[in-house]
Symmetry: C2
Subunit: 196 residues, 2 copies
DNA sequence: CATCATCTAGACCACTCGGTCTAGACCAAA
DNA sequence: TTTGGTCTAGACCGAGTGGTCTAGATGATG
């Protein structure tokens, strides 16, 4: 059902929306701006999306598709030590941030802006972050098994902490348009987590 | 010069703005909503503030005045061990979050929403976070001196990491309207930082 | 060709936005 | 009492918003 190639206009709108929402936020982007950026008339927009909220939620889905890909790529190679697989994931993500000029993470941006008034967005984005933590918990558990993390480690809790702290570092990176907070946060985190 | 009591209307507007901006964000709050919430006519608003941007920046100043107060209160008592002073600060901040129903931190909220398009807000908010880290670096340095932190600790870097990770936990707390991410993040952080 | 659903095209609408403007209330000083 | 600055009061404005509507282009199928 989803295997047919996406209509061109729909894909153009999602691509433009991803870029614009990351830069300007939900209320900072008018539908007209998305239309202009993607050279698409308004009729097409409302054919493919129910309204602006539906559009933004589908942009989040598109963003998460990229995250899923990065997770699959990073965590698949079991010949790499588990902690390095986790770091590799964040390396891929940071590489994505670089392409946008270090505007941080769409989940953090929309989450901050909308979660005060929209339970729909709040739950959706909270679920996305939980999903990432769940995926990361597996290699962390493996790392504990092979002795790369202390036996007292709770992999799920550690993964949640890692994702949360990453979002904080992503905010700081966005404020300063600088990748340094991301790398420094990972250095601290892995240094700290491996001690006990 | 600043010692005279603030005009009542100005204070009412700032109070209402703080609450509304935290909940709905910059573009989610119209000036009319601030006027309605503070029972103030529009003429007063534009008498006291140049425009909406100026207003939001002054709301940030008001927010930071509270942070300064919390820092002063928490860090002053040298009879308390330095690491407990730092934790005490975050305890006060978390208590403030509780009063709003765990909507997180205004700096994180406005920072995410506006830093993509407004260098003014980006630099202002980055400066606020840096200031907090600077203040926290002092007790962390003291903790290192008395042996509560490893000698290899870089107090300024550790303080910056702490503030960044706190902002990430505050986002998560906002998404779920739950204080747990805040406490868990602090537990992890202090456990980790005190190991070598 | 004829039919019909899908998608493009953009004019149009009601409404809200940030911001301006004028009028007047209030009060201290002359 | 008159003056003049500060602050309140809200009508008003142009621009832009999200969303609707009708018309037509397109393309697969009978």
């Amino acid at each position: 059902m989803d295997n047919q190639p996406l209509p061109a206009a729909r894909q153009r709108l999602l691509d433009a929306g991803l870029e614009l929402l990351l830069e300007r936020g939900y209320h900072g982007v008018g539908i007209q701006a998305v239309l202009d950026a993607s050279l698409t008339p308004k009729g097409s927009f409302y054919h493919h999306f129910r309204d602006k909220e539906d559009f933004a939620l589908q942009v989040i889905d598109a963003y998460m598709a990229g995250v899923h890909g990065a997770l699959d790529v990073s965590l698949a190679d079991v010949s790499v030590p588990p902690l390095e697989r986790v770091r590799g994931f964040f390396g891929l993500v940071a590489g994505g941030y670089a392409k946008d000029g270090y505007l941080g993470c769409l989940l953090g941006g929309l989450g901050q802006e909308l979660s005060g008034v929209s339970p729909v967005f709040a739950q959706r984005i909270d679920g996305c972050l939980s999903y990432i933590a769940d995926r990361l918990a597996e290699p962390l558990d493996e790392a504990r098994s092979v002795g790369d993390l202390p036996p007292s480690t709770d992999p799920k809790a550690l993964a949640t902490r890692l994702v949360d702290c990453w979002e904080g570092a992503a905010l700081r990176s966005r404020l300063s348009r600088d990748p340094a907070p991301l790398r420094e946060m990972l250095d601290f985190f892995f240094h700290a987590a491996t001690r006990e």
